[in-house]
Amino acid sequence: MAVIVCHGLKGGAGITFAAAHLAMTLSEAGAEVTVLSVAQRDTLPLHFGLQPALTLPSLFAPAEDAVLASGINLRSHTKAVDDADFVPTLLDLGYFEAGPDRVMVIDVPASEFAFARRIIPHSSANLCVLNAAPDTLALLPQVLGDASAETIARTTFAINALDETRRLSRHSAAFIRELVGPRLIGRIRLDEAVPEAIAMLQPLARYAPSSAALADVRAIGAAMVPALETPGRPWVARGEIAAASSSRAA
């Protein structure tokens, strides 16, 4: 089972939103998908149109306790962040293997950055969700300074809740784009349909099928699919590698 880690620099960036919709995109592409939340305060069910009072079953709970939303298995494991055996256990169970058929998306709150750093080296891909805002930009040097070269090399970025009508937002997005280059695999426009869908207890795709944010986050999910078979470089499509190689040879 391939693992994709969704994480971020700062709370409120939309990490859970991205994780949920990444899972939906992969599921629609035919994968068997599990989403694992490790947050103590969990909003994951809301993005699937589920009731706020719902408590997700443990990762290790039996199948009859499973919560399935649109065919996606929603699980929780809040102890994962403090559990030194979490990665070895998952390795023993056959997780962290490449392949597009079975995928686990792990939703990691920004505050659990140490846990994210621990699991990223084992994952097929990881997505760092950012806001185009100055306080987020200010955290970039610290995060890049602390991260290993391997982690940086494996990280892809997405800008969430981008308000292109605001000058500072556009400038901040431009700065991120220039800084991370091809590692930025997309941006999700600010869209009031996202909180409205939560308030309506509906998945975004049902509440607002033409939502700009939905189209954007789906494009990001599609861009990550190659990572499932080619771990570590999700922005590199395998076909394009071959095409580029042959054109260089020519």
Binding site: T165, E178, G186, A219, A223, A237
Partner: protein
């Protein structure tokens, strides 16, 4: 989506708006000291060093990213060991300022071409 917005989009035959009419001039980008402060932080070099160490990636065209100006050039003079003679240090400060301005100007150019 509000009903009035939905009706307007229906009349325009669109699913959503994309705000592409905004152009950002170089002088506007210069307004934010935080961008310049961040560009001077040597820790940002980490992302560039990884890029140069790894094989050149092929950008997935479907996601619409633009080719960045090499940051290795931008940061190459930052964070070197012991202090240098005063005239060289002054020269470096001037070069750094130019590099920051060059990147901001590059961002502005991309904006005017509608690429950001």
């Amino acid at each position: 989506m509000r009903i009035d917005a939905r009706h307007l989009l229906d009349r325009l035959g669109k699913n959503d708006f994309a705000y592409k009419e905004f152009e950002d001039r170089f002088t506007e980008l210069e307004l934010w000291p935080i961008l310049e402060a961040l560009l001077r932080d040597p820790r940002l070099q980490a992302i560039d060093q990884v890029e140069t160490a790894a094989p050149e990636p092929v950008v997935n065209e479907t996601v619409g990213t633009s080719a960045p100006e090499p940051l290795s050039a931008l940061f190459s003079r930052y964070g070197r060991g012991p202090a240098e003679p005063t005239d060289v240090a002054a020269e470096r400060r001037g070069a750094q300022a130019q590099d920051v301005r060059a990147m901001l100007r590059h961002l502005s150019d991309l904006g005017s071409r509608g690429e950001i």
